[in-house]
């Protein structure tokens, strides 16, 4: 039964975060594209993370808060702050990317492989 732990909170928190994104798109100018949504979420997640407001969301929602792109922003900010504590000022430059390296590398690798393997269907 262990695998089903935290499912409901993840579903609820993740759903609510996505609804915020939907409202951003529907209630703002039509030129607010998916790219703008993603940039807003990653930046927003980083700022909330820095203020210490995103961590509780992760504790409550688990994947519900880490899977949305705001979770990626949170990891970037957390990584930078943790590295500053360990290594001083240089950590501000290295920490964010180091903490999210797996995600970035996976995105590049899988993105490239899929682009090579498939053709657009239209």
């Amino acid at each position: 039964m262990f695998v089903f732990r935290m499912i409901i909170p993840a579903f609820l928190v993740g759903g609510v975060i996505c609804v915020i994104g939907q409202l951003l798109m529907d209630l703002t100018k039509p030129s607010f594209t998916p790219a703008h949504v993603l940039v807003t979420f990653v930046t927003g997640g980083a700022i909330l993370g820095a203020l210490g407001w995103y961590k509780p969301l992760i504790e409550i929602g688990g994947a519900g808060a880490s899977v949305p792109l705001s979770g990626f922003g949170y990891s970037l900010a957390k990584g930078a702050m943790d590295a500053v504590s360990r290594e001083g000022l240089m950590g501000a430059l290295s920490g964010g990317v180091a903490a999210t390296a797996v995600g970035i590398a996976a995105a590049v690798l899988f993105g490239y492989l899929v682009s090579i393997a498939f053709n657009p269907k239209g």
């Binding site: 798109m25 100018k29 039509p30 030129s31 594209t33 998916p34 657009p120 269907k121 239209g122």
Partner: protein
């Protein structure tokens, strides 16, 4: 020589050019729509074995133009000019089709109004005595247009409810100095109007004022009323643009009755989930070359006013926040 120009913007042809033949080629989705049976050729898929969507679009145009010439039964060598246009950068579909046909070529850009523009200019060439046969054709392709103007086709996201669906298709007409067929009797070339619409998901609203302006001038120049036509068809205003055109015309003192419709509302049915209707150069071209030409020939339509509607923006101008200028070109076709 007498001036053939009447009023502000209209020309009346002294020996009206004849539409000797018309031909339309469309993609599978258009083939499944309500006008499916009126098209000359329906592709089984939207790429038809070509290497890219852009080449597929060029192939559509080439097939439509060759089809019109074959149907007229004259050799290609007797065509004096080829007039063509499309939506892609530097009208590349037309240029590539022209490379295959190897005729004296005039490339046109009027965005989605290009079919009407081409018919008007072609008629001027013939009535002016510069040509005996002019081949006019335009194309658009949903996938090549989407990726140039909007987002990649595989990107997940919602299209707005006012968005229209670019037609995959090409239409062509062969105009001649003499012969049998419907005749192009007059044309009103439009001026560019911009009422400040910036939403590229609402092209109908951007083009409606220009179409209304052309209609207004057309009726004044020729001293006619909308009732003098059995059909007034705008090119691709879609649901929102067609409603706006009616309303703007009404406020300007002219009411459009049941003779008015929009080609963009004819191609797809409700179940095809295209939101506000069809758009693209191919939209008015395939509706005219198919359905309207057939009804003109059969005699169920006497006098038709086709008003091509074009949105004269580019992806760059939209990203820079510029509003979308619109244009409307009208041609009168009598059966």
């Amino acid at each position: 020589m007498d001036l053939k120009r009447v009023g502000n913007q209209t020309v009346v042809f002294s020996s009206p050019p004849v539409i000797l033949a018309s031909y339309s080629v469309v993609g599978p989705m258009e083939g499944r729509g309500p006008l499916g049976k009126t098209f000359d050729k329906v592709w089984q898929d939207n790429i038809n074995g070509e290497k890219s969507w852009e080449l597929a679009e060029s192939k559509l145009l080439q097939e439509a133009m060759q089809g019109a010439v074959e149907q007229a039964g004259i050799p290609l060598s007797q065509v004096d000019y080829m007039l063509a246009g499309d939506l892609l950068n530097q009208i590349i579909s037309s240029n590539f089709a022209a490379r295959k046909l190897a005729l004296p070529f005039i490339g046109l850009y009027g965005a989605c109004s290009t079919m009407a523009l081409g018919m008007a200019v072609g008629s001027m060439l013939i009535d002016g005595g510069f040509a005996s046969h002019v081949l006019v054709g335009v194309s658009s392709h949903h996938d090549s247009a989407e990726r140039q103007y909007r987002l990649p086709t595989e990107q997940g996201g919602q299209r707005s409810l006012s968005a229209q669906w670019t037609v995959t298709g090409a239409g062509s007409v062969l105009l001649g100095q003499s012969g049998t067929g419907p005749r192009i009797t007059a044309a009103t070339l439009g001026r560019v109007l911009d009422y400040g619409e910036t939403d590229v998901g609402n092209m109908g609203a951007a083009m409606a004022p220009a179409v209304a302006d052309t209609l207004l001038n057309h009726f004044q120049d020729l001293q006619r009323q909308p009732e003098d036509y059995s059909l007034i068809a705008s090119g691709d205003l879609g649901m929102v643009g067609a409603d706006l055109t009616r309303e703007v015309m009404l406020r300007s003192g002219m009411s459009l009755g049941s003779e008015y419709t929009d080609c963009g509302l004819m191609i797809y049915d409700k179940s095809q989930d295209v939101h506000a209707g069809a758009s693209g150069c191919g939209c008015s071209a395939v509706v005219f070359a198919g359905d309207i030409m057939q009804r003109l020939t059969a005699g169920s339509l006497k006098r038709v006013l086709l008003v091509g509607s074009g949105a004269l923006h580019s992806p760059t101008s939209s990203l820079q926040g510029e509003s979308v200028p619109g244009i409307g070109h009208a041609v009168v076709i009598e059966g």
